[in-house]
């Protein structure tokens, strides 16, 4: 896909119809802040048969670190490599310089993996705030405690019957729920309903890249 500042001839839909920016819930400081991550790069990387070791070596060589097998995040070369299955990762990239990173990833994985651009297949909601764990605990049937879900942890789980990739960013305070795009409206409502009683701020989509 293209960087946000070089849009081609069709406009990207960056403001989905379900998004309702603003403050809701009881008065006081918001316990949860929800942000739609618009226009990120997300690649599905899957090692070809018998090529996992070669892929990891190539990625390490290109980006300085290799992803690990398992539900963890490794930051390298401007990507967050998130383990989503055996020998399978999502490489997530945001901000400027994505075109170069994209090319580097394609080159590094050329011989040993299939790389699919799934940027438009997922919608990612970022959640933060003092009550974010309590709100997510209402939805996700996994242990979100410090030990069970340390910074960088990732889980392919379900929320309200939707397949959701839930991860905690390496910086610790931010959680992300990535859901197949067609479910985004339903997940948005599930997240906002769960967060409402803690005080919720939904940020305008324009505010983020």
């Amino acid at each position: 896909m293209s960087d946000s500042f070089t849009l081609p001839g069709l406009a990207l839909d960056l403001v989905p119809h379900y998004l309702r920016p603003g403050r809701s819930g009881p008065p006081g400081a918001s316990g949860v802040v929800l942000t739609l991550i618009a226009d990120e790069d997300r690649f599905n990387i899957e090692a070809r048969r018998g090529s996992a070791a070669q892929l990891l070596a190539s990625l390490a060589n290109s980006f300085g670190a290799a992803p690990v097998n398992g539900p963890k995040t490794i930051a390298a070369g401007g990507f967050d490599f998130v383990g989503v299955g055996p020998s399978r990762w999502h490489a997530i990239s945001r901000g400027d310089g994505r075109a170069e990173r994209r090319a580097a990833l394609a080159a590094a994985a050329l011989e040993s993996a299939t790389v699919l651009d799934v940027s438009h297949g997922f919608v990612t909601f970022q959640l933060s705030g003092r009550s974010v764990v309590e709100a997510l605990a209402k939805l996700a049937p996994i242990d979100l405690g410090e030990q069970g879900f340390a910074p960088g942890a990732c889980a392919m789980t379900q929320i309200h019957g939707m397949s959701v990739q839930l991860r905690r960013r390496l910086d610790g305070g931010f959680y992300e729920c990535a859901v197949p795009r067609s479910f985004a409206g339903s997940l948005y409502h599930a997240l906002t309903d769960a967060a409402l009683r803690f005080g919720l701020t939904v940020e305008p989509a324009q505010a983020v890249i």
């Binding site: 839909d13 940027s119 049937p141 409206g185």
Partner: protein, 989 residues
Amino acid sequence: MSGFRLADGGLIDRSRPLKFTFDGKAYTGYAGDTLASALLANGVRLFGRSFKYHRPRGVLSAGHEEPNALVELREGARREPNVKATAVELYDGLVARSQNRWPSLAFDAMAVNGLLKPIFSAGFYYKTFMWPASFWEKLYEPVIRRAAGLGRASGVEDPDTYERSNAFCDVLVVGAGPAGLMAALTAARAGADVILCEDQPRVGGQLLSDREFIDGRPAPEWAVSAAAELAALPNVRIMLRTTVTAAFDGCFAALERVSDHYPEPSAFQPRQRFWRIVAKRTILAAGSTERPLAFPDNDRPGIMLSSAVRTYLNRFGVAAGRVAAIYTSTDDGWLTARDFLRAGLTPVVLVDTRASAPAAFADVAKAVPIMLEGAVLGTEGAKGLSAIIVAAGGAQKRFEVDALAVSGGFNPAIQLASHFGGKPSWSENISAFLAGGTAQGVEPAGAAAGVFGLAEIFAEAAAAGAACAAAQGFAAPAPKLPTVAQTSTAGSLAAWRPNPAKDGKIFVDFQHDVTASDVVLAHREGYRSVEHLKRYTTLGMATEQGRTANISALAMMAQLTGRTIPETGVTLARPPVVPLALGAVAGDHRRGAFRPVRETAIHALSSEAGAPFVDVGQWKRPQYFPIPEDADLAATAAREVETVRTRVGVTDVSTLGKIEVLGADAGVFLDRVCATRASAIRPGRCGYFVMLREDGFMMDDGMIARFAPDHFLVYASTAHAASVYRHMLFCRQALWPELDVNLAAVTDGWAQFAIAGPRSPAVVQALVDAPRAITRTVFPPMSAAELTICDGVPARLCALSFSGERAFEVAVPAGYGAALFRRILDVGAAYGIAPYGSEAMGVMRIEKGHPAGSEINGQTTAYDLGLARALSKDKDHIGRVLSARPALNDRKRARLVGLTPLDPNDRLRAGAHVVETGVAPSAASDLGWLSSAAWSPTLRSFIALGFVSGGPDRLGDEVRIFDPVRGGDCAARIVAPCFYDPNGERPRV
């Protein structure tokens, strides 16, 4: 004493009076009361009427085991029936009403049922009201249901919200009585993550009810300090007003009553929260339930469990009555007598079924008249107890009392352990069932483990807490155990002997009005298994699940059959432990959030255009795009079809499943998965595929585009996309892991539109970037390409036709979907383009005879659908062998055909039967059914696809379309399934 409230004492807050009403009458209680304690304090003894016989009933217990004091709580939409007054925390403004009585609680005309007891005995509905048979549904059942029952539901939607949540811990402690507190302290001090769930609004359990002293101070104070220590630990979560209600594999369910102690929830707060708790180890410290004793008229208001009497006395400062007696087979009755004495209320008599007085209660024996080896022979009273008749030593005596405390032993609360299926084991020592071994890391402790002495409870609970912590790698130092006075509640089952004259009034299951005579009847009629006994008599099937009833009934059946109680057996408790509101189980899954929905990229645009949506699985698909000139939606569909047939239309096909198949072995893989030869599809082309299940039946059909030698894209049908992908993953991972092929479902990543109609090439030409030409020769039907459109937007273009016209499917990354849809409409305006919905698409596919979800329904084969010729004969593939079974290739099978009514205006509907003409419709004359039907604006006739026995061999035959459910009956002709352009010439123009 005002009412039955003592002048002082109790754990209530007398500085906080609370006003409430019961049956419209105003009362006052105190913070810390339950509804039951507050009503008792006000001298109310009559709480309700029994289920069948409408006998007056009071309070038996002080907890969830209450079978009698059921009320309707709150009003209007929040009215909740069958609430146990003993479990309702009193709040200011509480409104409660009695239930199951008419016209009033004091005078209940339905009490006449008691006179009809011989008719309403166990299993009466199997024997009576049998004639005339038609009266049962119309008269007998409605009258009986009205006469017997519980409270009234509000009948309107629950206005409150409910939440669900998840919690995780090393050690879950169920119950914060002495055992739970001690176990939690031990495990938490060792460092384990502990969740302590307590049903009550405060910790302490039985310590709140007894006058125990721990470490030299009142037991409730010790409980408070223990809770304070726990609350200060970062690894402990104390959950009050939370009942662990069920145990499942890997987790427990708990109900937190967040707002039940308020008139209504405060803003943004749920009424209840339903927890899923995952614990590595669990300590079951839920206490025990006291059993009543079996004696005639043992259900009068004023007769109460001994431990409940103490709870009201010590925790709530309420006396069960002004003049009390005690009837016991355990030491618990003696404890109650002692506490009565301390409160200045001397019982008039203590009747013990045992031969000797317990030595530890010499003080009681000195102060209270004692009758050993005694029995209560009967009771007196109209709407409450007024006297008891007692026999002992061959003599009978009558005592005028208004309260009788009874104790028949204790049942450890092992329900949660039983949920795992562990069979309870009988303990002769305590005459009760214990949890049968440790199940799934559940460790009973305290009274739940059959340990009743406080010192033993502390010691064993501490050991259990340490063991659970150690199992998680937390070493627990030996705790300093609190110093307590040793108490005992030893006891035995009270003997019961059949007595036909009295058994009809000995109530075993109070809530369902099951008496000893019902148990005798069940035995006489052969229902001697505990499972039969339960179902025949309804024993233990009420909301308190037989907590106070089961052992008494088992003891009776054991005596009747000459067996022991363990030989007689026991039924297992099933979830939930306490009644649950379904709203709590549903949580947020209500209204629009009942289930997730899937939206395409043009959902908002379609909605703005006024399109109604149809559910296709989880997808919301626009069904029509109506314009003001359309007379109705049928006209809309007809207009949309005509637009495609004559000009050009655009529709959203994003819901089609899209599965990327990549790798050197992609072609080999698809050849094995598909019954068609996918590897024969050249790069840059599309091909039709058929996929069979292992059993030879159709799984799906669709199209495959090949963009490169090692890159295929499978377009599966919307209905089968998930199952097809799952199947392909299974094949790849389990059947042929050696193949170099990767799969990825990318349905959500692409917005895809079909542009169909004779003018579609011009519209597509206006979209694609130069120098791509969209002509019949350069981009003929079945072409496929990855290209750019609209000045650089990456896209995929396939020349595919579902409508039967020249058509294209263009896909772009989903974020561009809405913009592309608008662009297509813009550039197509010059060619008369119009959007069309799933209805018009469905009409056109029926006109073309394409099978879809109604035809590929899991019961049909490629042969049935006329697709057998498409199957590859020279390679192996899934379903090949079993699809060749003779039965699946019988010409008489119901096979796909088209049907047209002889009168074009005769409406055909899917689901109608196809029968022979001139023969009465019957199963024998049934030839098949219509699977899809529509009005064809192209043919000006109703048309249908259907399955007819031997159908393709009967083209031209006349049949009858019989639709008795919807009143359809017409003549039709069997034709080939393709009604429109059978030679397929139009897509090639």
